[in-house]
Symmetry: C2
């Protein structure tokens, strides 16, 4: 069932859906066309224009994959709530110190021990084009959120 | 850290990792290159040659995507055990009645109400090439299982 509300409400709905899910699985495309995923710590916030942010190391393998192919998927799973969310979008790497300071959360120190002073700390900006979700209410058929 | 054991042990290890996780998120590539994922009920069994099986409807959108591009990723998430698994492989559709009867589980009736008599019931065969996993022991760096 397509949701025909405006973009703001759809983003708010998506924000509510992913809230409290600590990790998203980011899927990227390798040069040989194979698909790989890895857990990304969620900072639990969506920009009002439909952007997801993750902290990453600028030298990681996933970043070199994204430089070759920007298409990504981020899935969020809450088995407790029987909720499964697929977010399709494009990703780009940003080393914007101001944005990093704005988004930084203390728990990220687990992966980036030097915090905001980590030399190759970077942001992954995921511009959301479409989201689909399944939950205990929707059963087999997904609900769609279209932001493109 | 690469695990240098033989293929049988690696498949057994992967089997142990995904055991008890009810759903995997299957990511496929759309014709326009965008990536989409959807929850697939896990039948909790890996073939000894490194094959994952899922029941699907032969007419679903994900199947038409796979007919155009066989590359898929299946991710399994257990937030309780802080375990995140990425399985990279290729998928194909099979309508093998004998294999379906062998793999069928009663809980699948939730999605396929007519059971094995469901007209467009089919199997998705995922041939695993590589798996990576992260858990509370491995922290930021994944463990690799290579089956190709």
């Amino acid at each position: 069932m397509a949701i025909s509300t405006n973009s703001d409400r759809q983003i708010q709905e998506l924000q509510t859906l992913i809230k409290g899910i600590d990790y998203g699985m980011l899927t990227t495309v390798n040069d040989d066309g194979s698909l790989h995923s890895c857990p990304m710590h969620s900072i639990d916030e969506l920009d009002t224009d439909g952007t997801l942010w993750f902290f990453t190391s600028a030298n990681s393998h996933r970043v070199s994959e994204i430089e070759h192919n920007q298409q990504v998927n981020v899935s969020f799973t809450s088995s407790q709530n029987q909720r499964y969310i697929s977010i399709s979008g494009t990703a780009q790497l940003l080393q914007d110190r101001q944005k990093m300071a704005e988004l930084w959360k203390p728990e990220l120190q687990t992966w980036f021990s030097q915090g905001l002073n980590e030399p190759d700390l970077a942001l992954l900006k995921v511009s959301i084009k479409q989201a689909d979700y399944w939950d205990s209410r929707s059963s087999y058929h997904p609900q769609h959120i279209n932001l493109s």
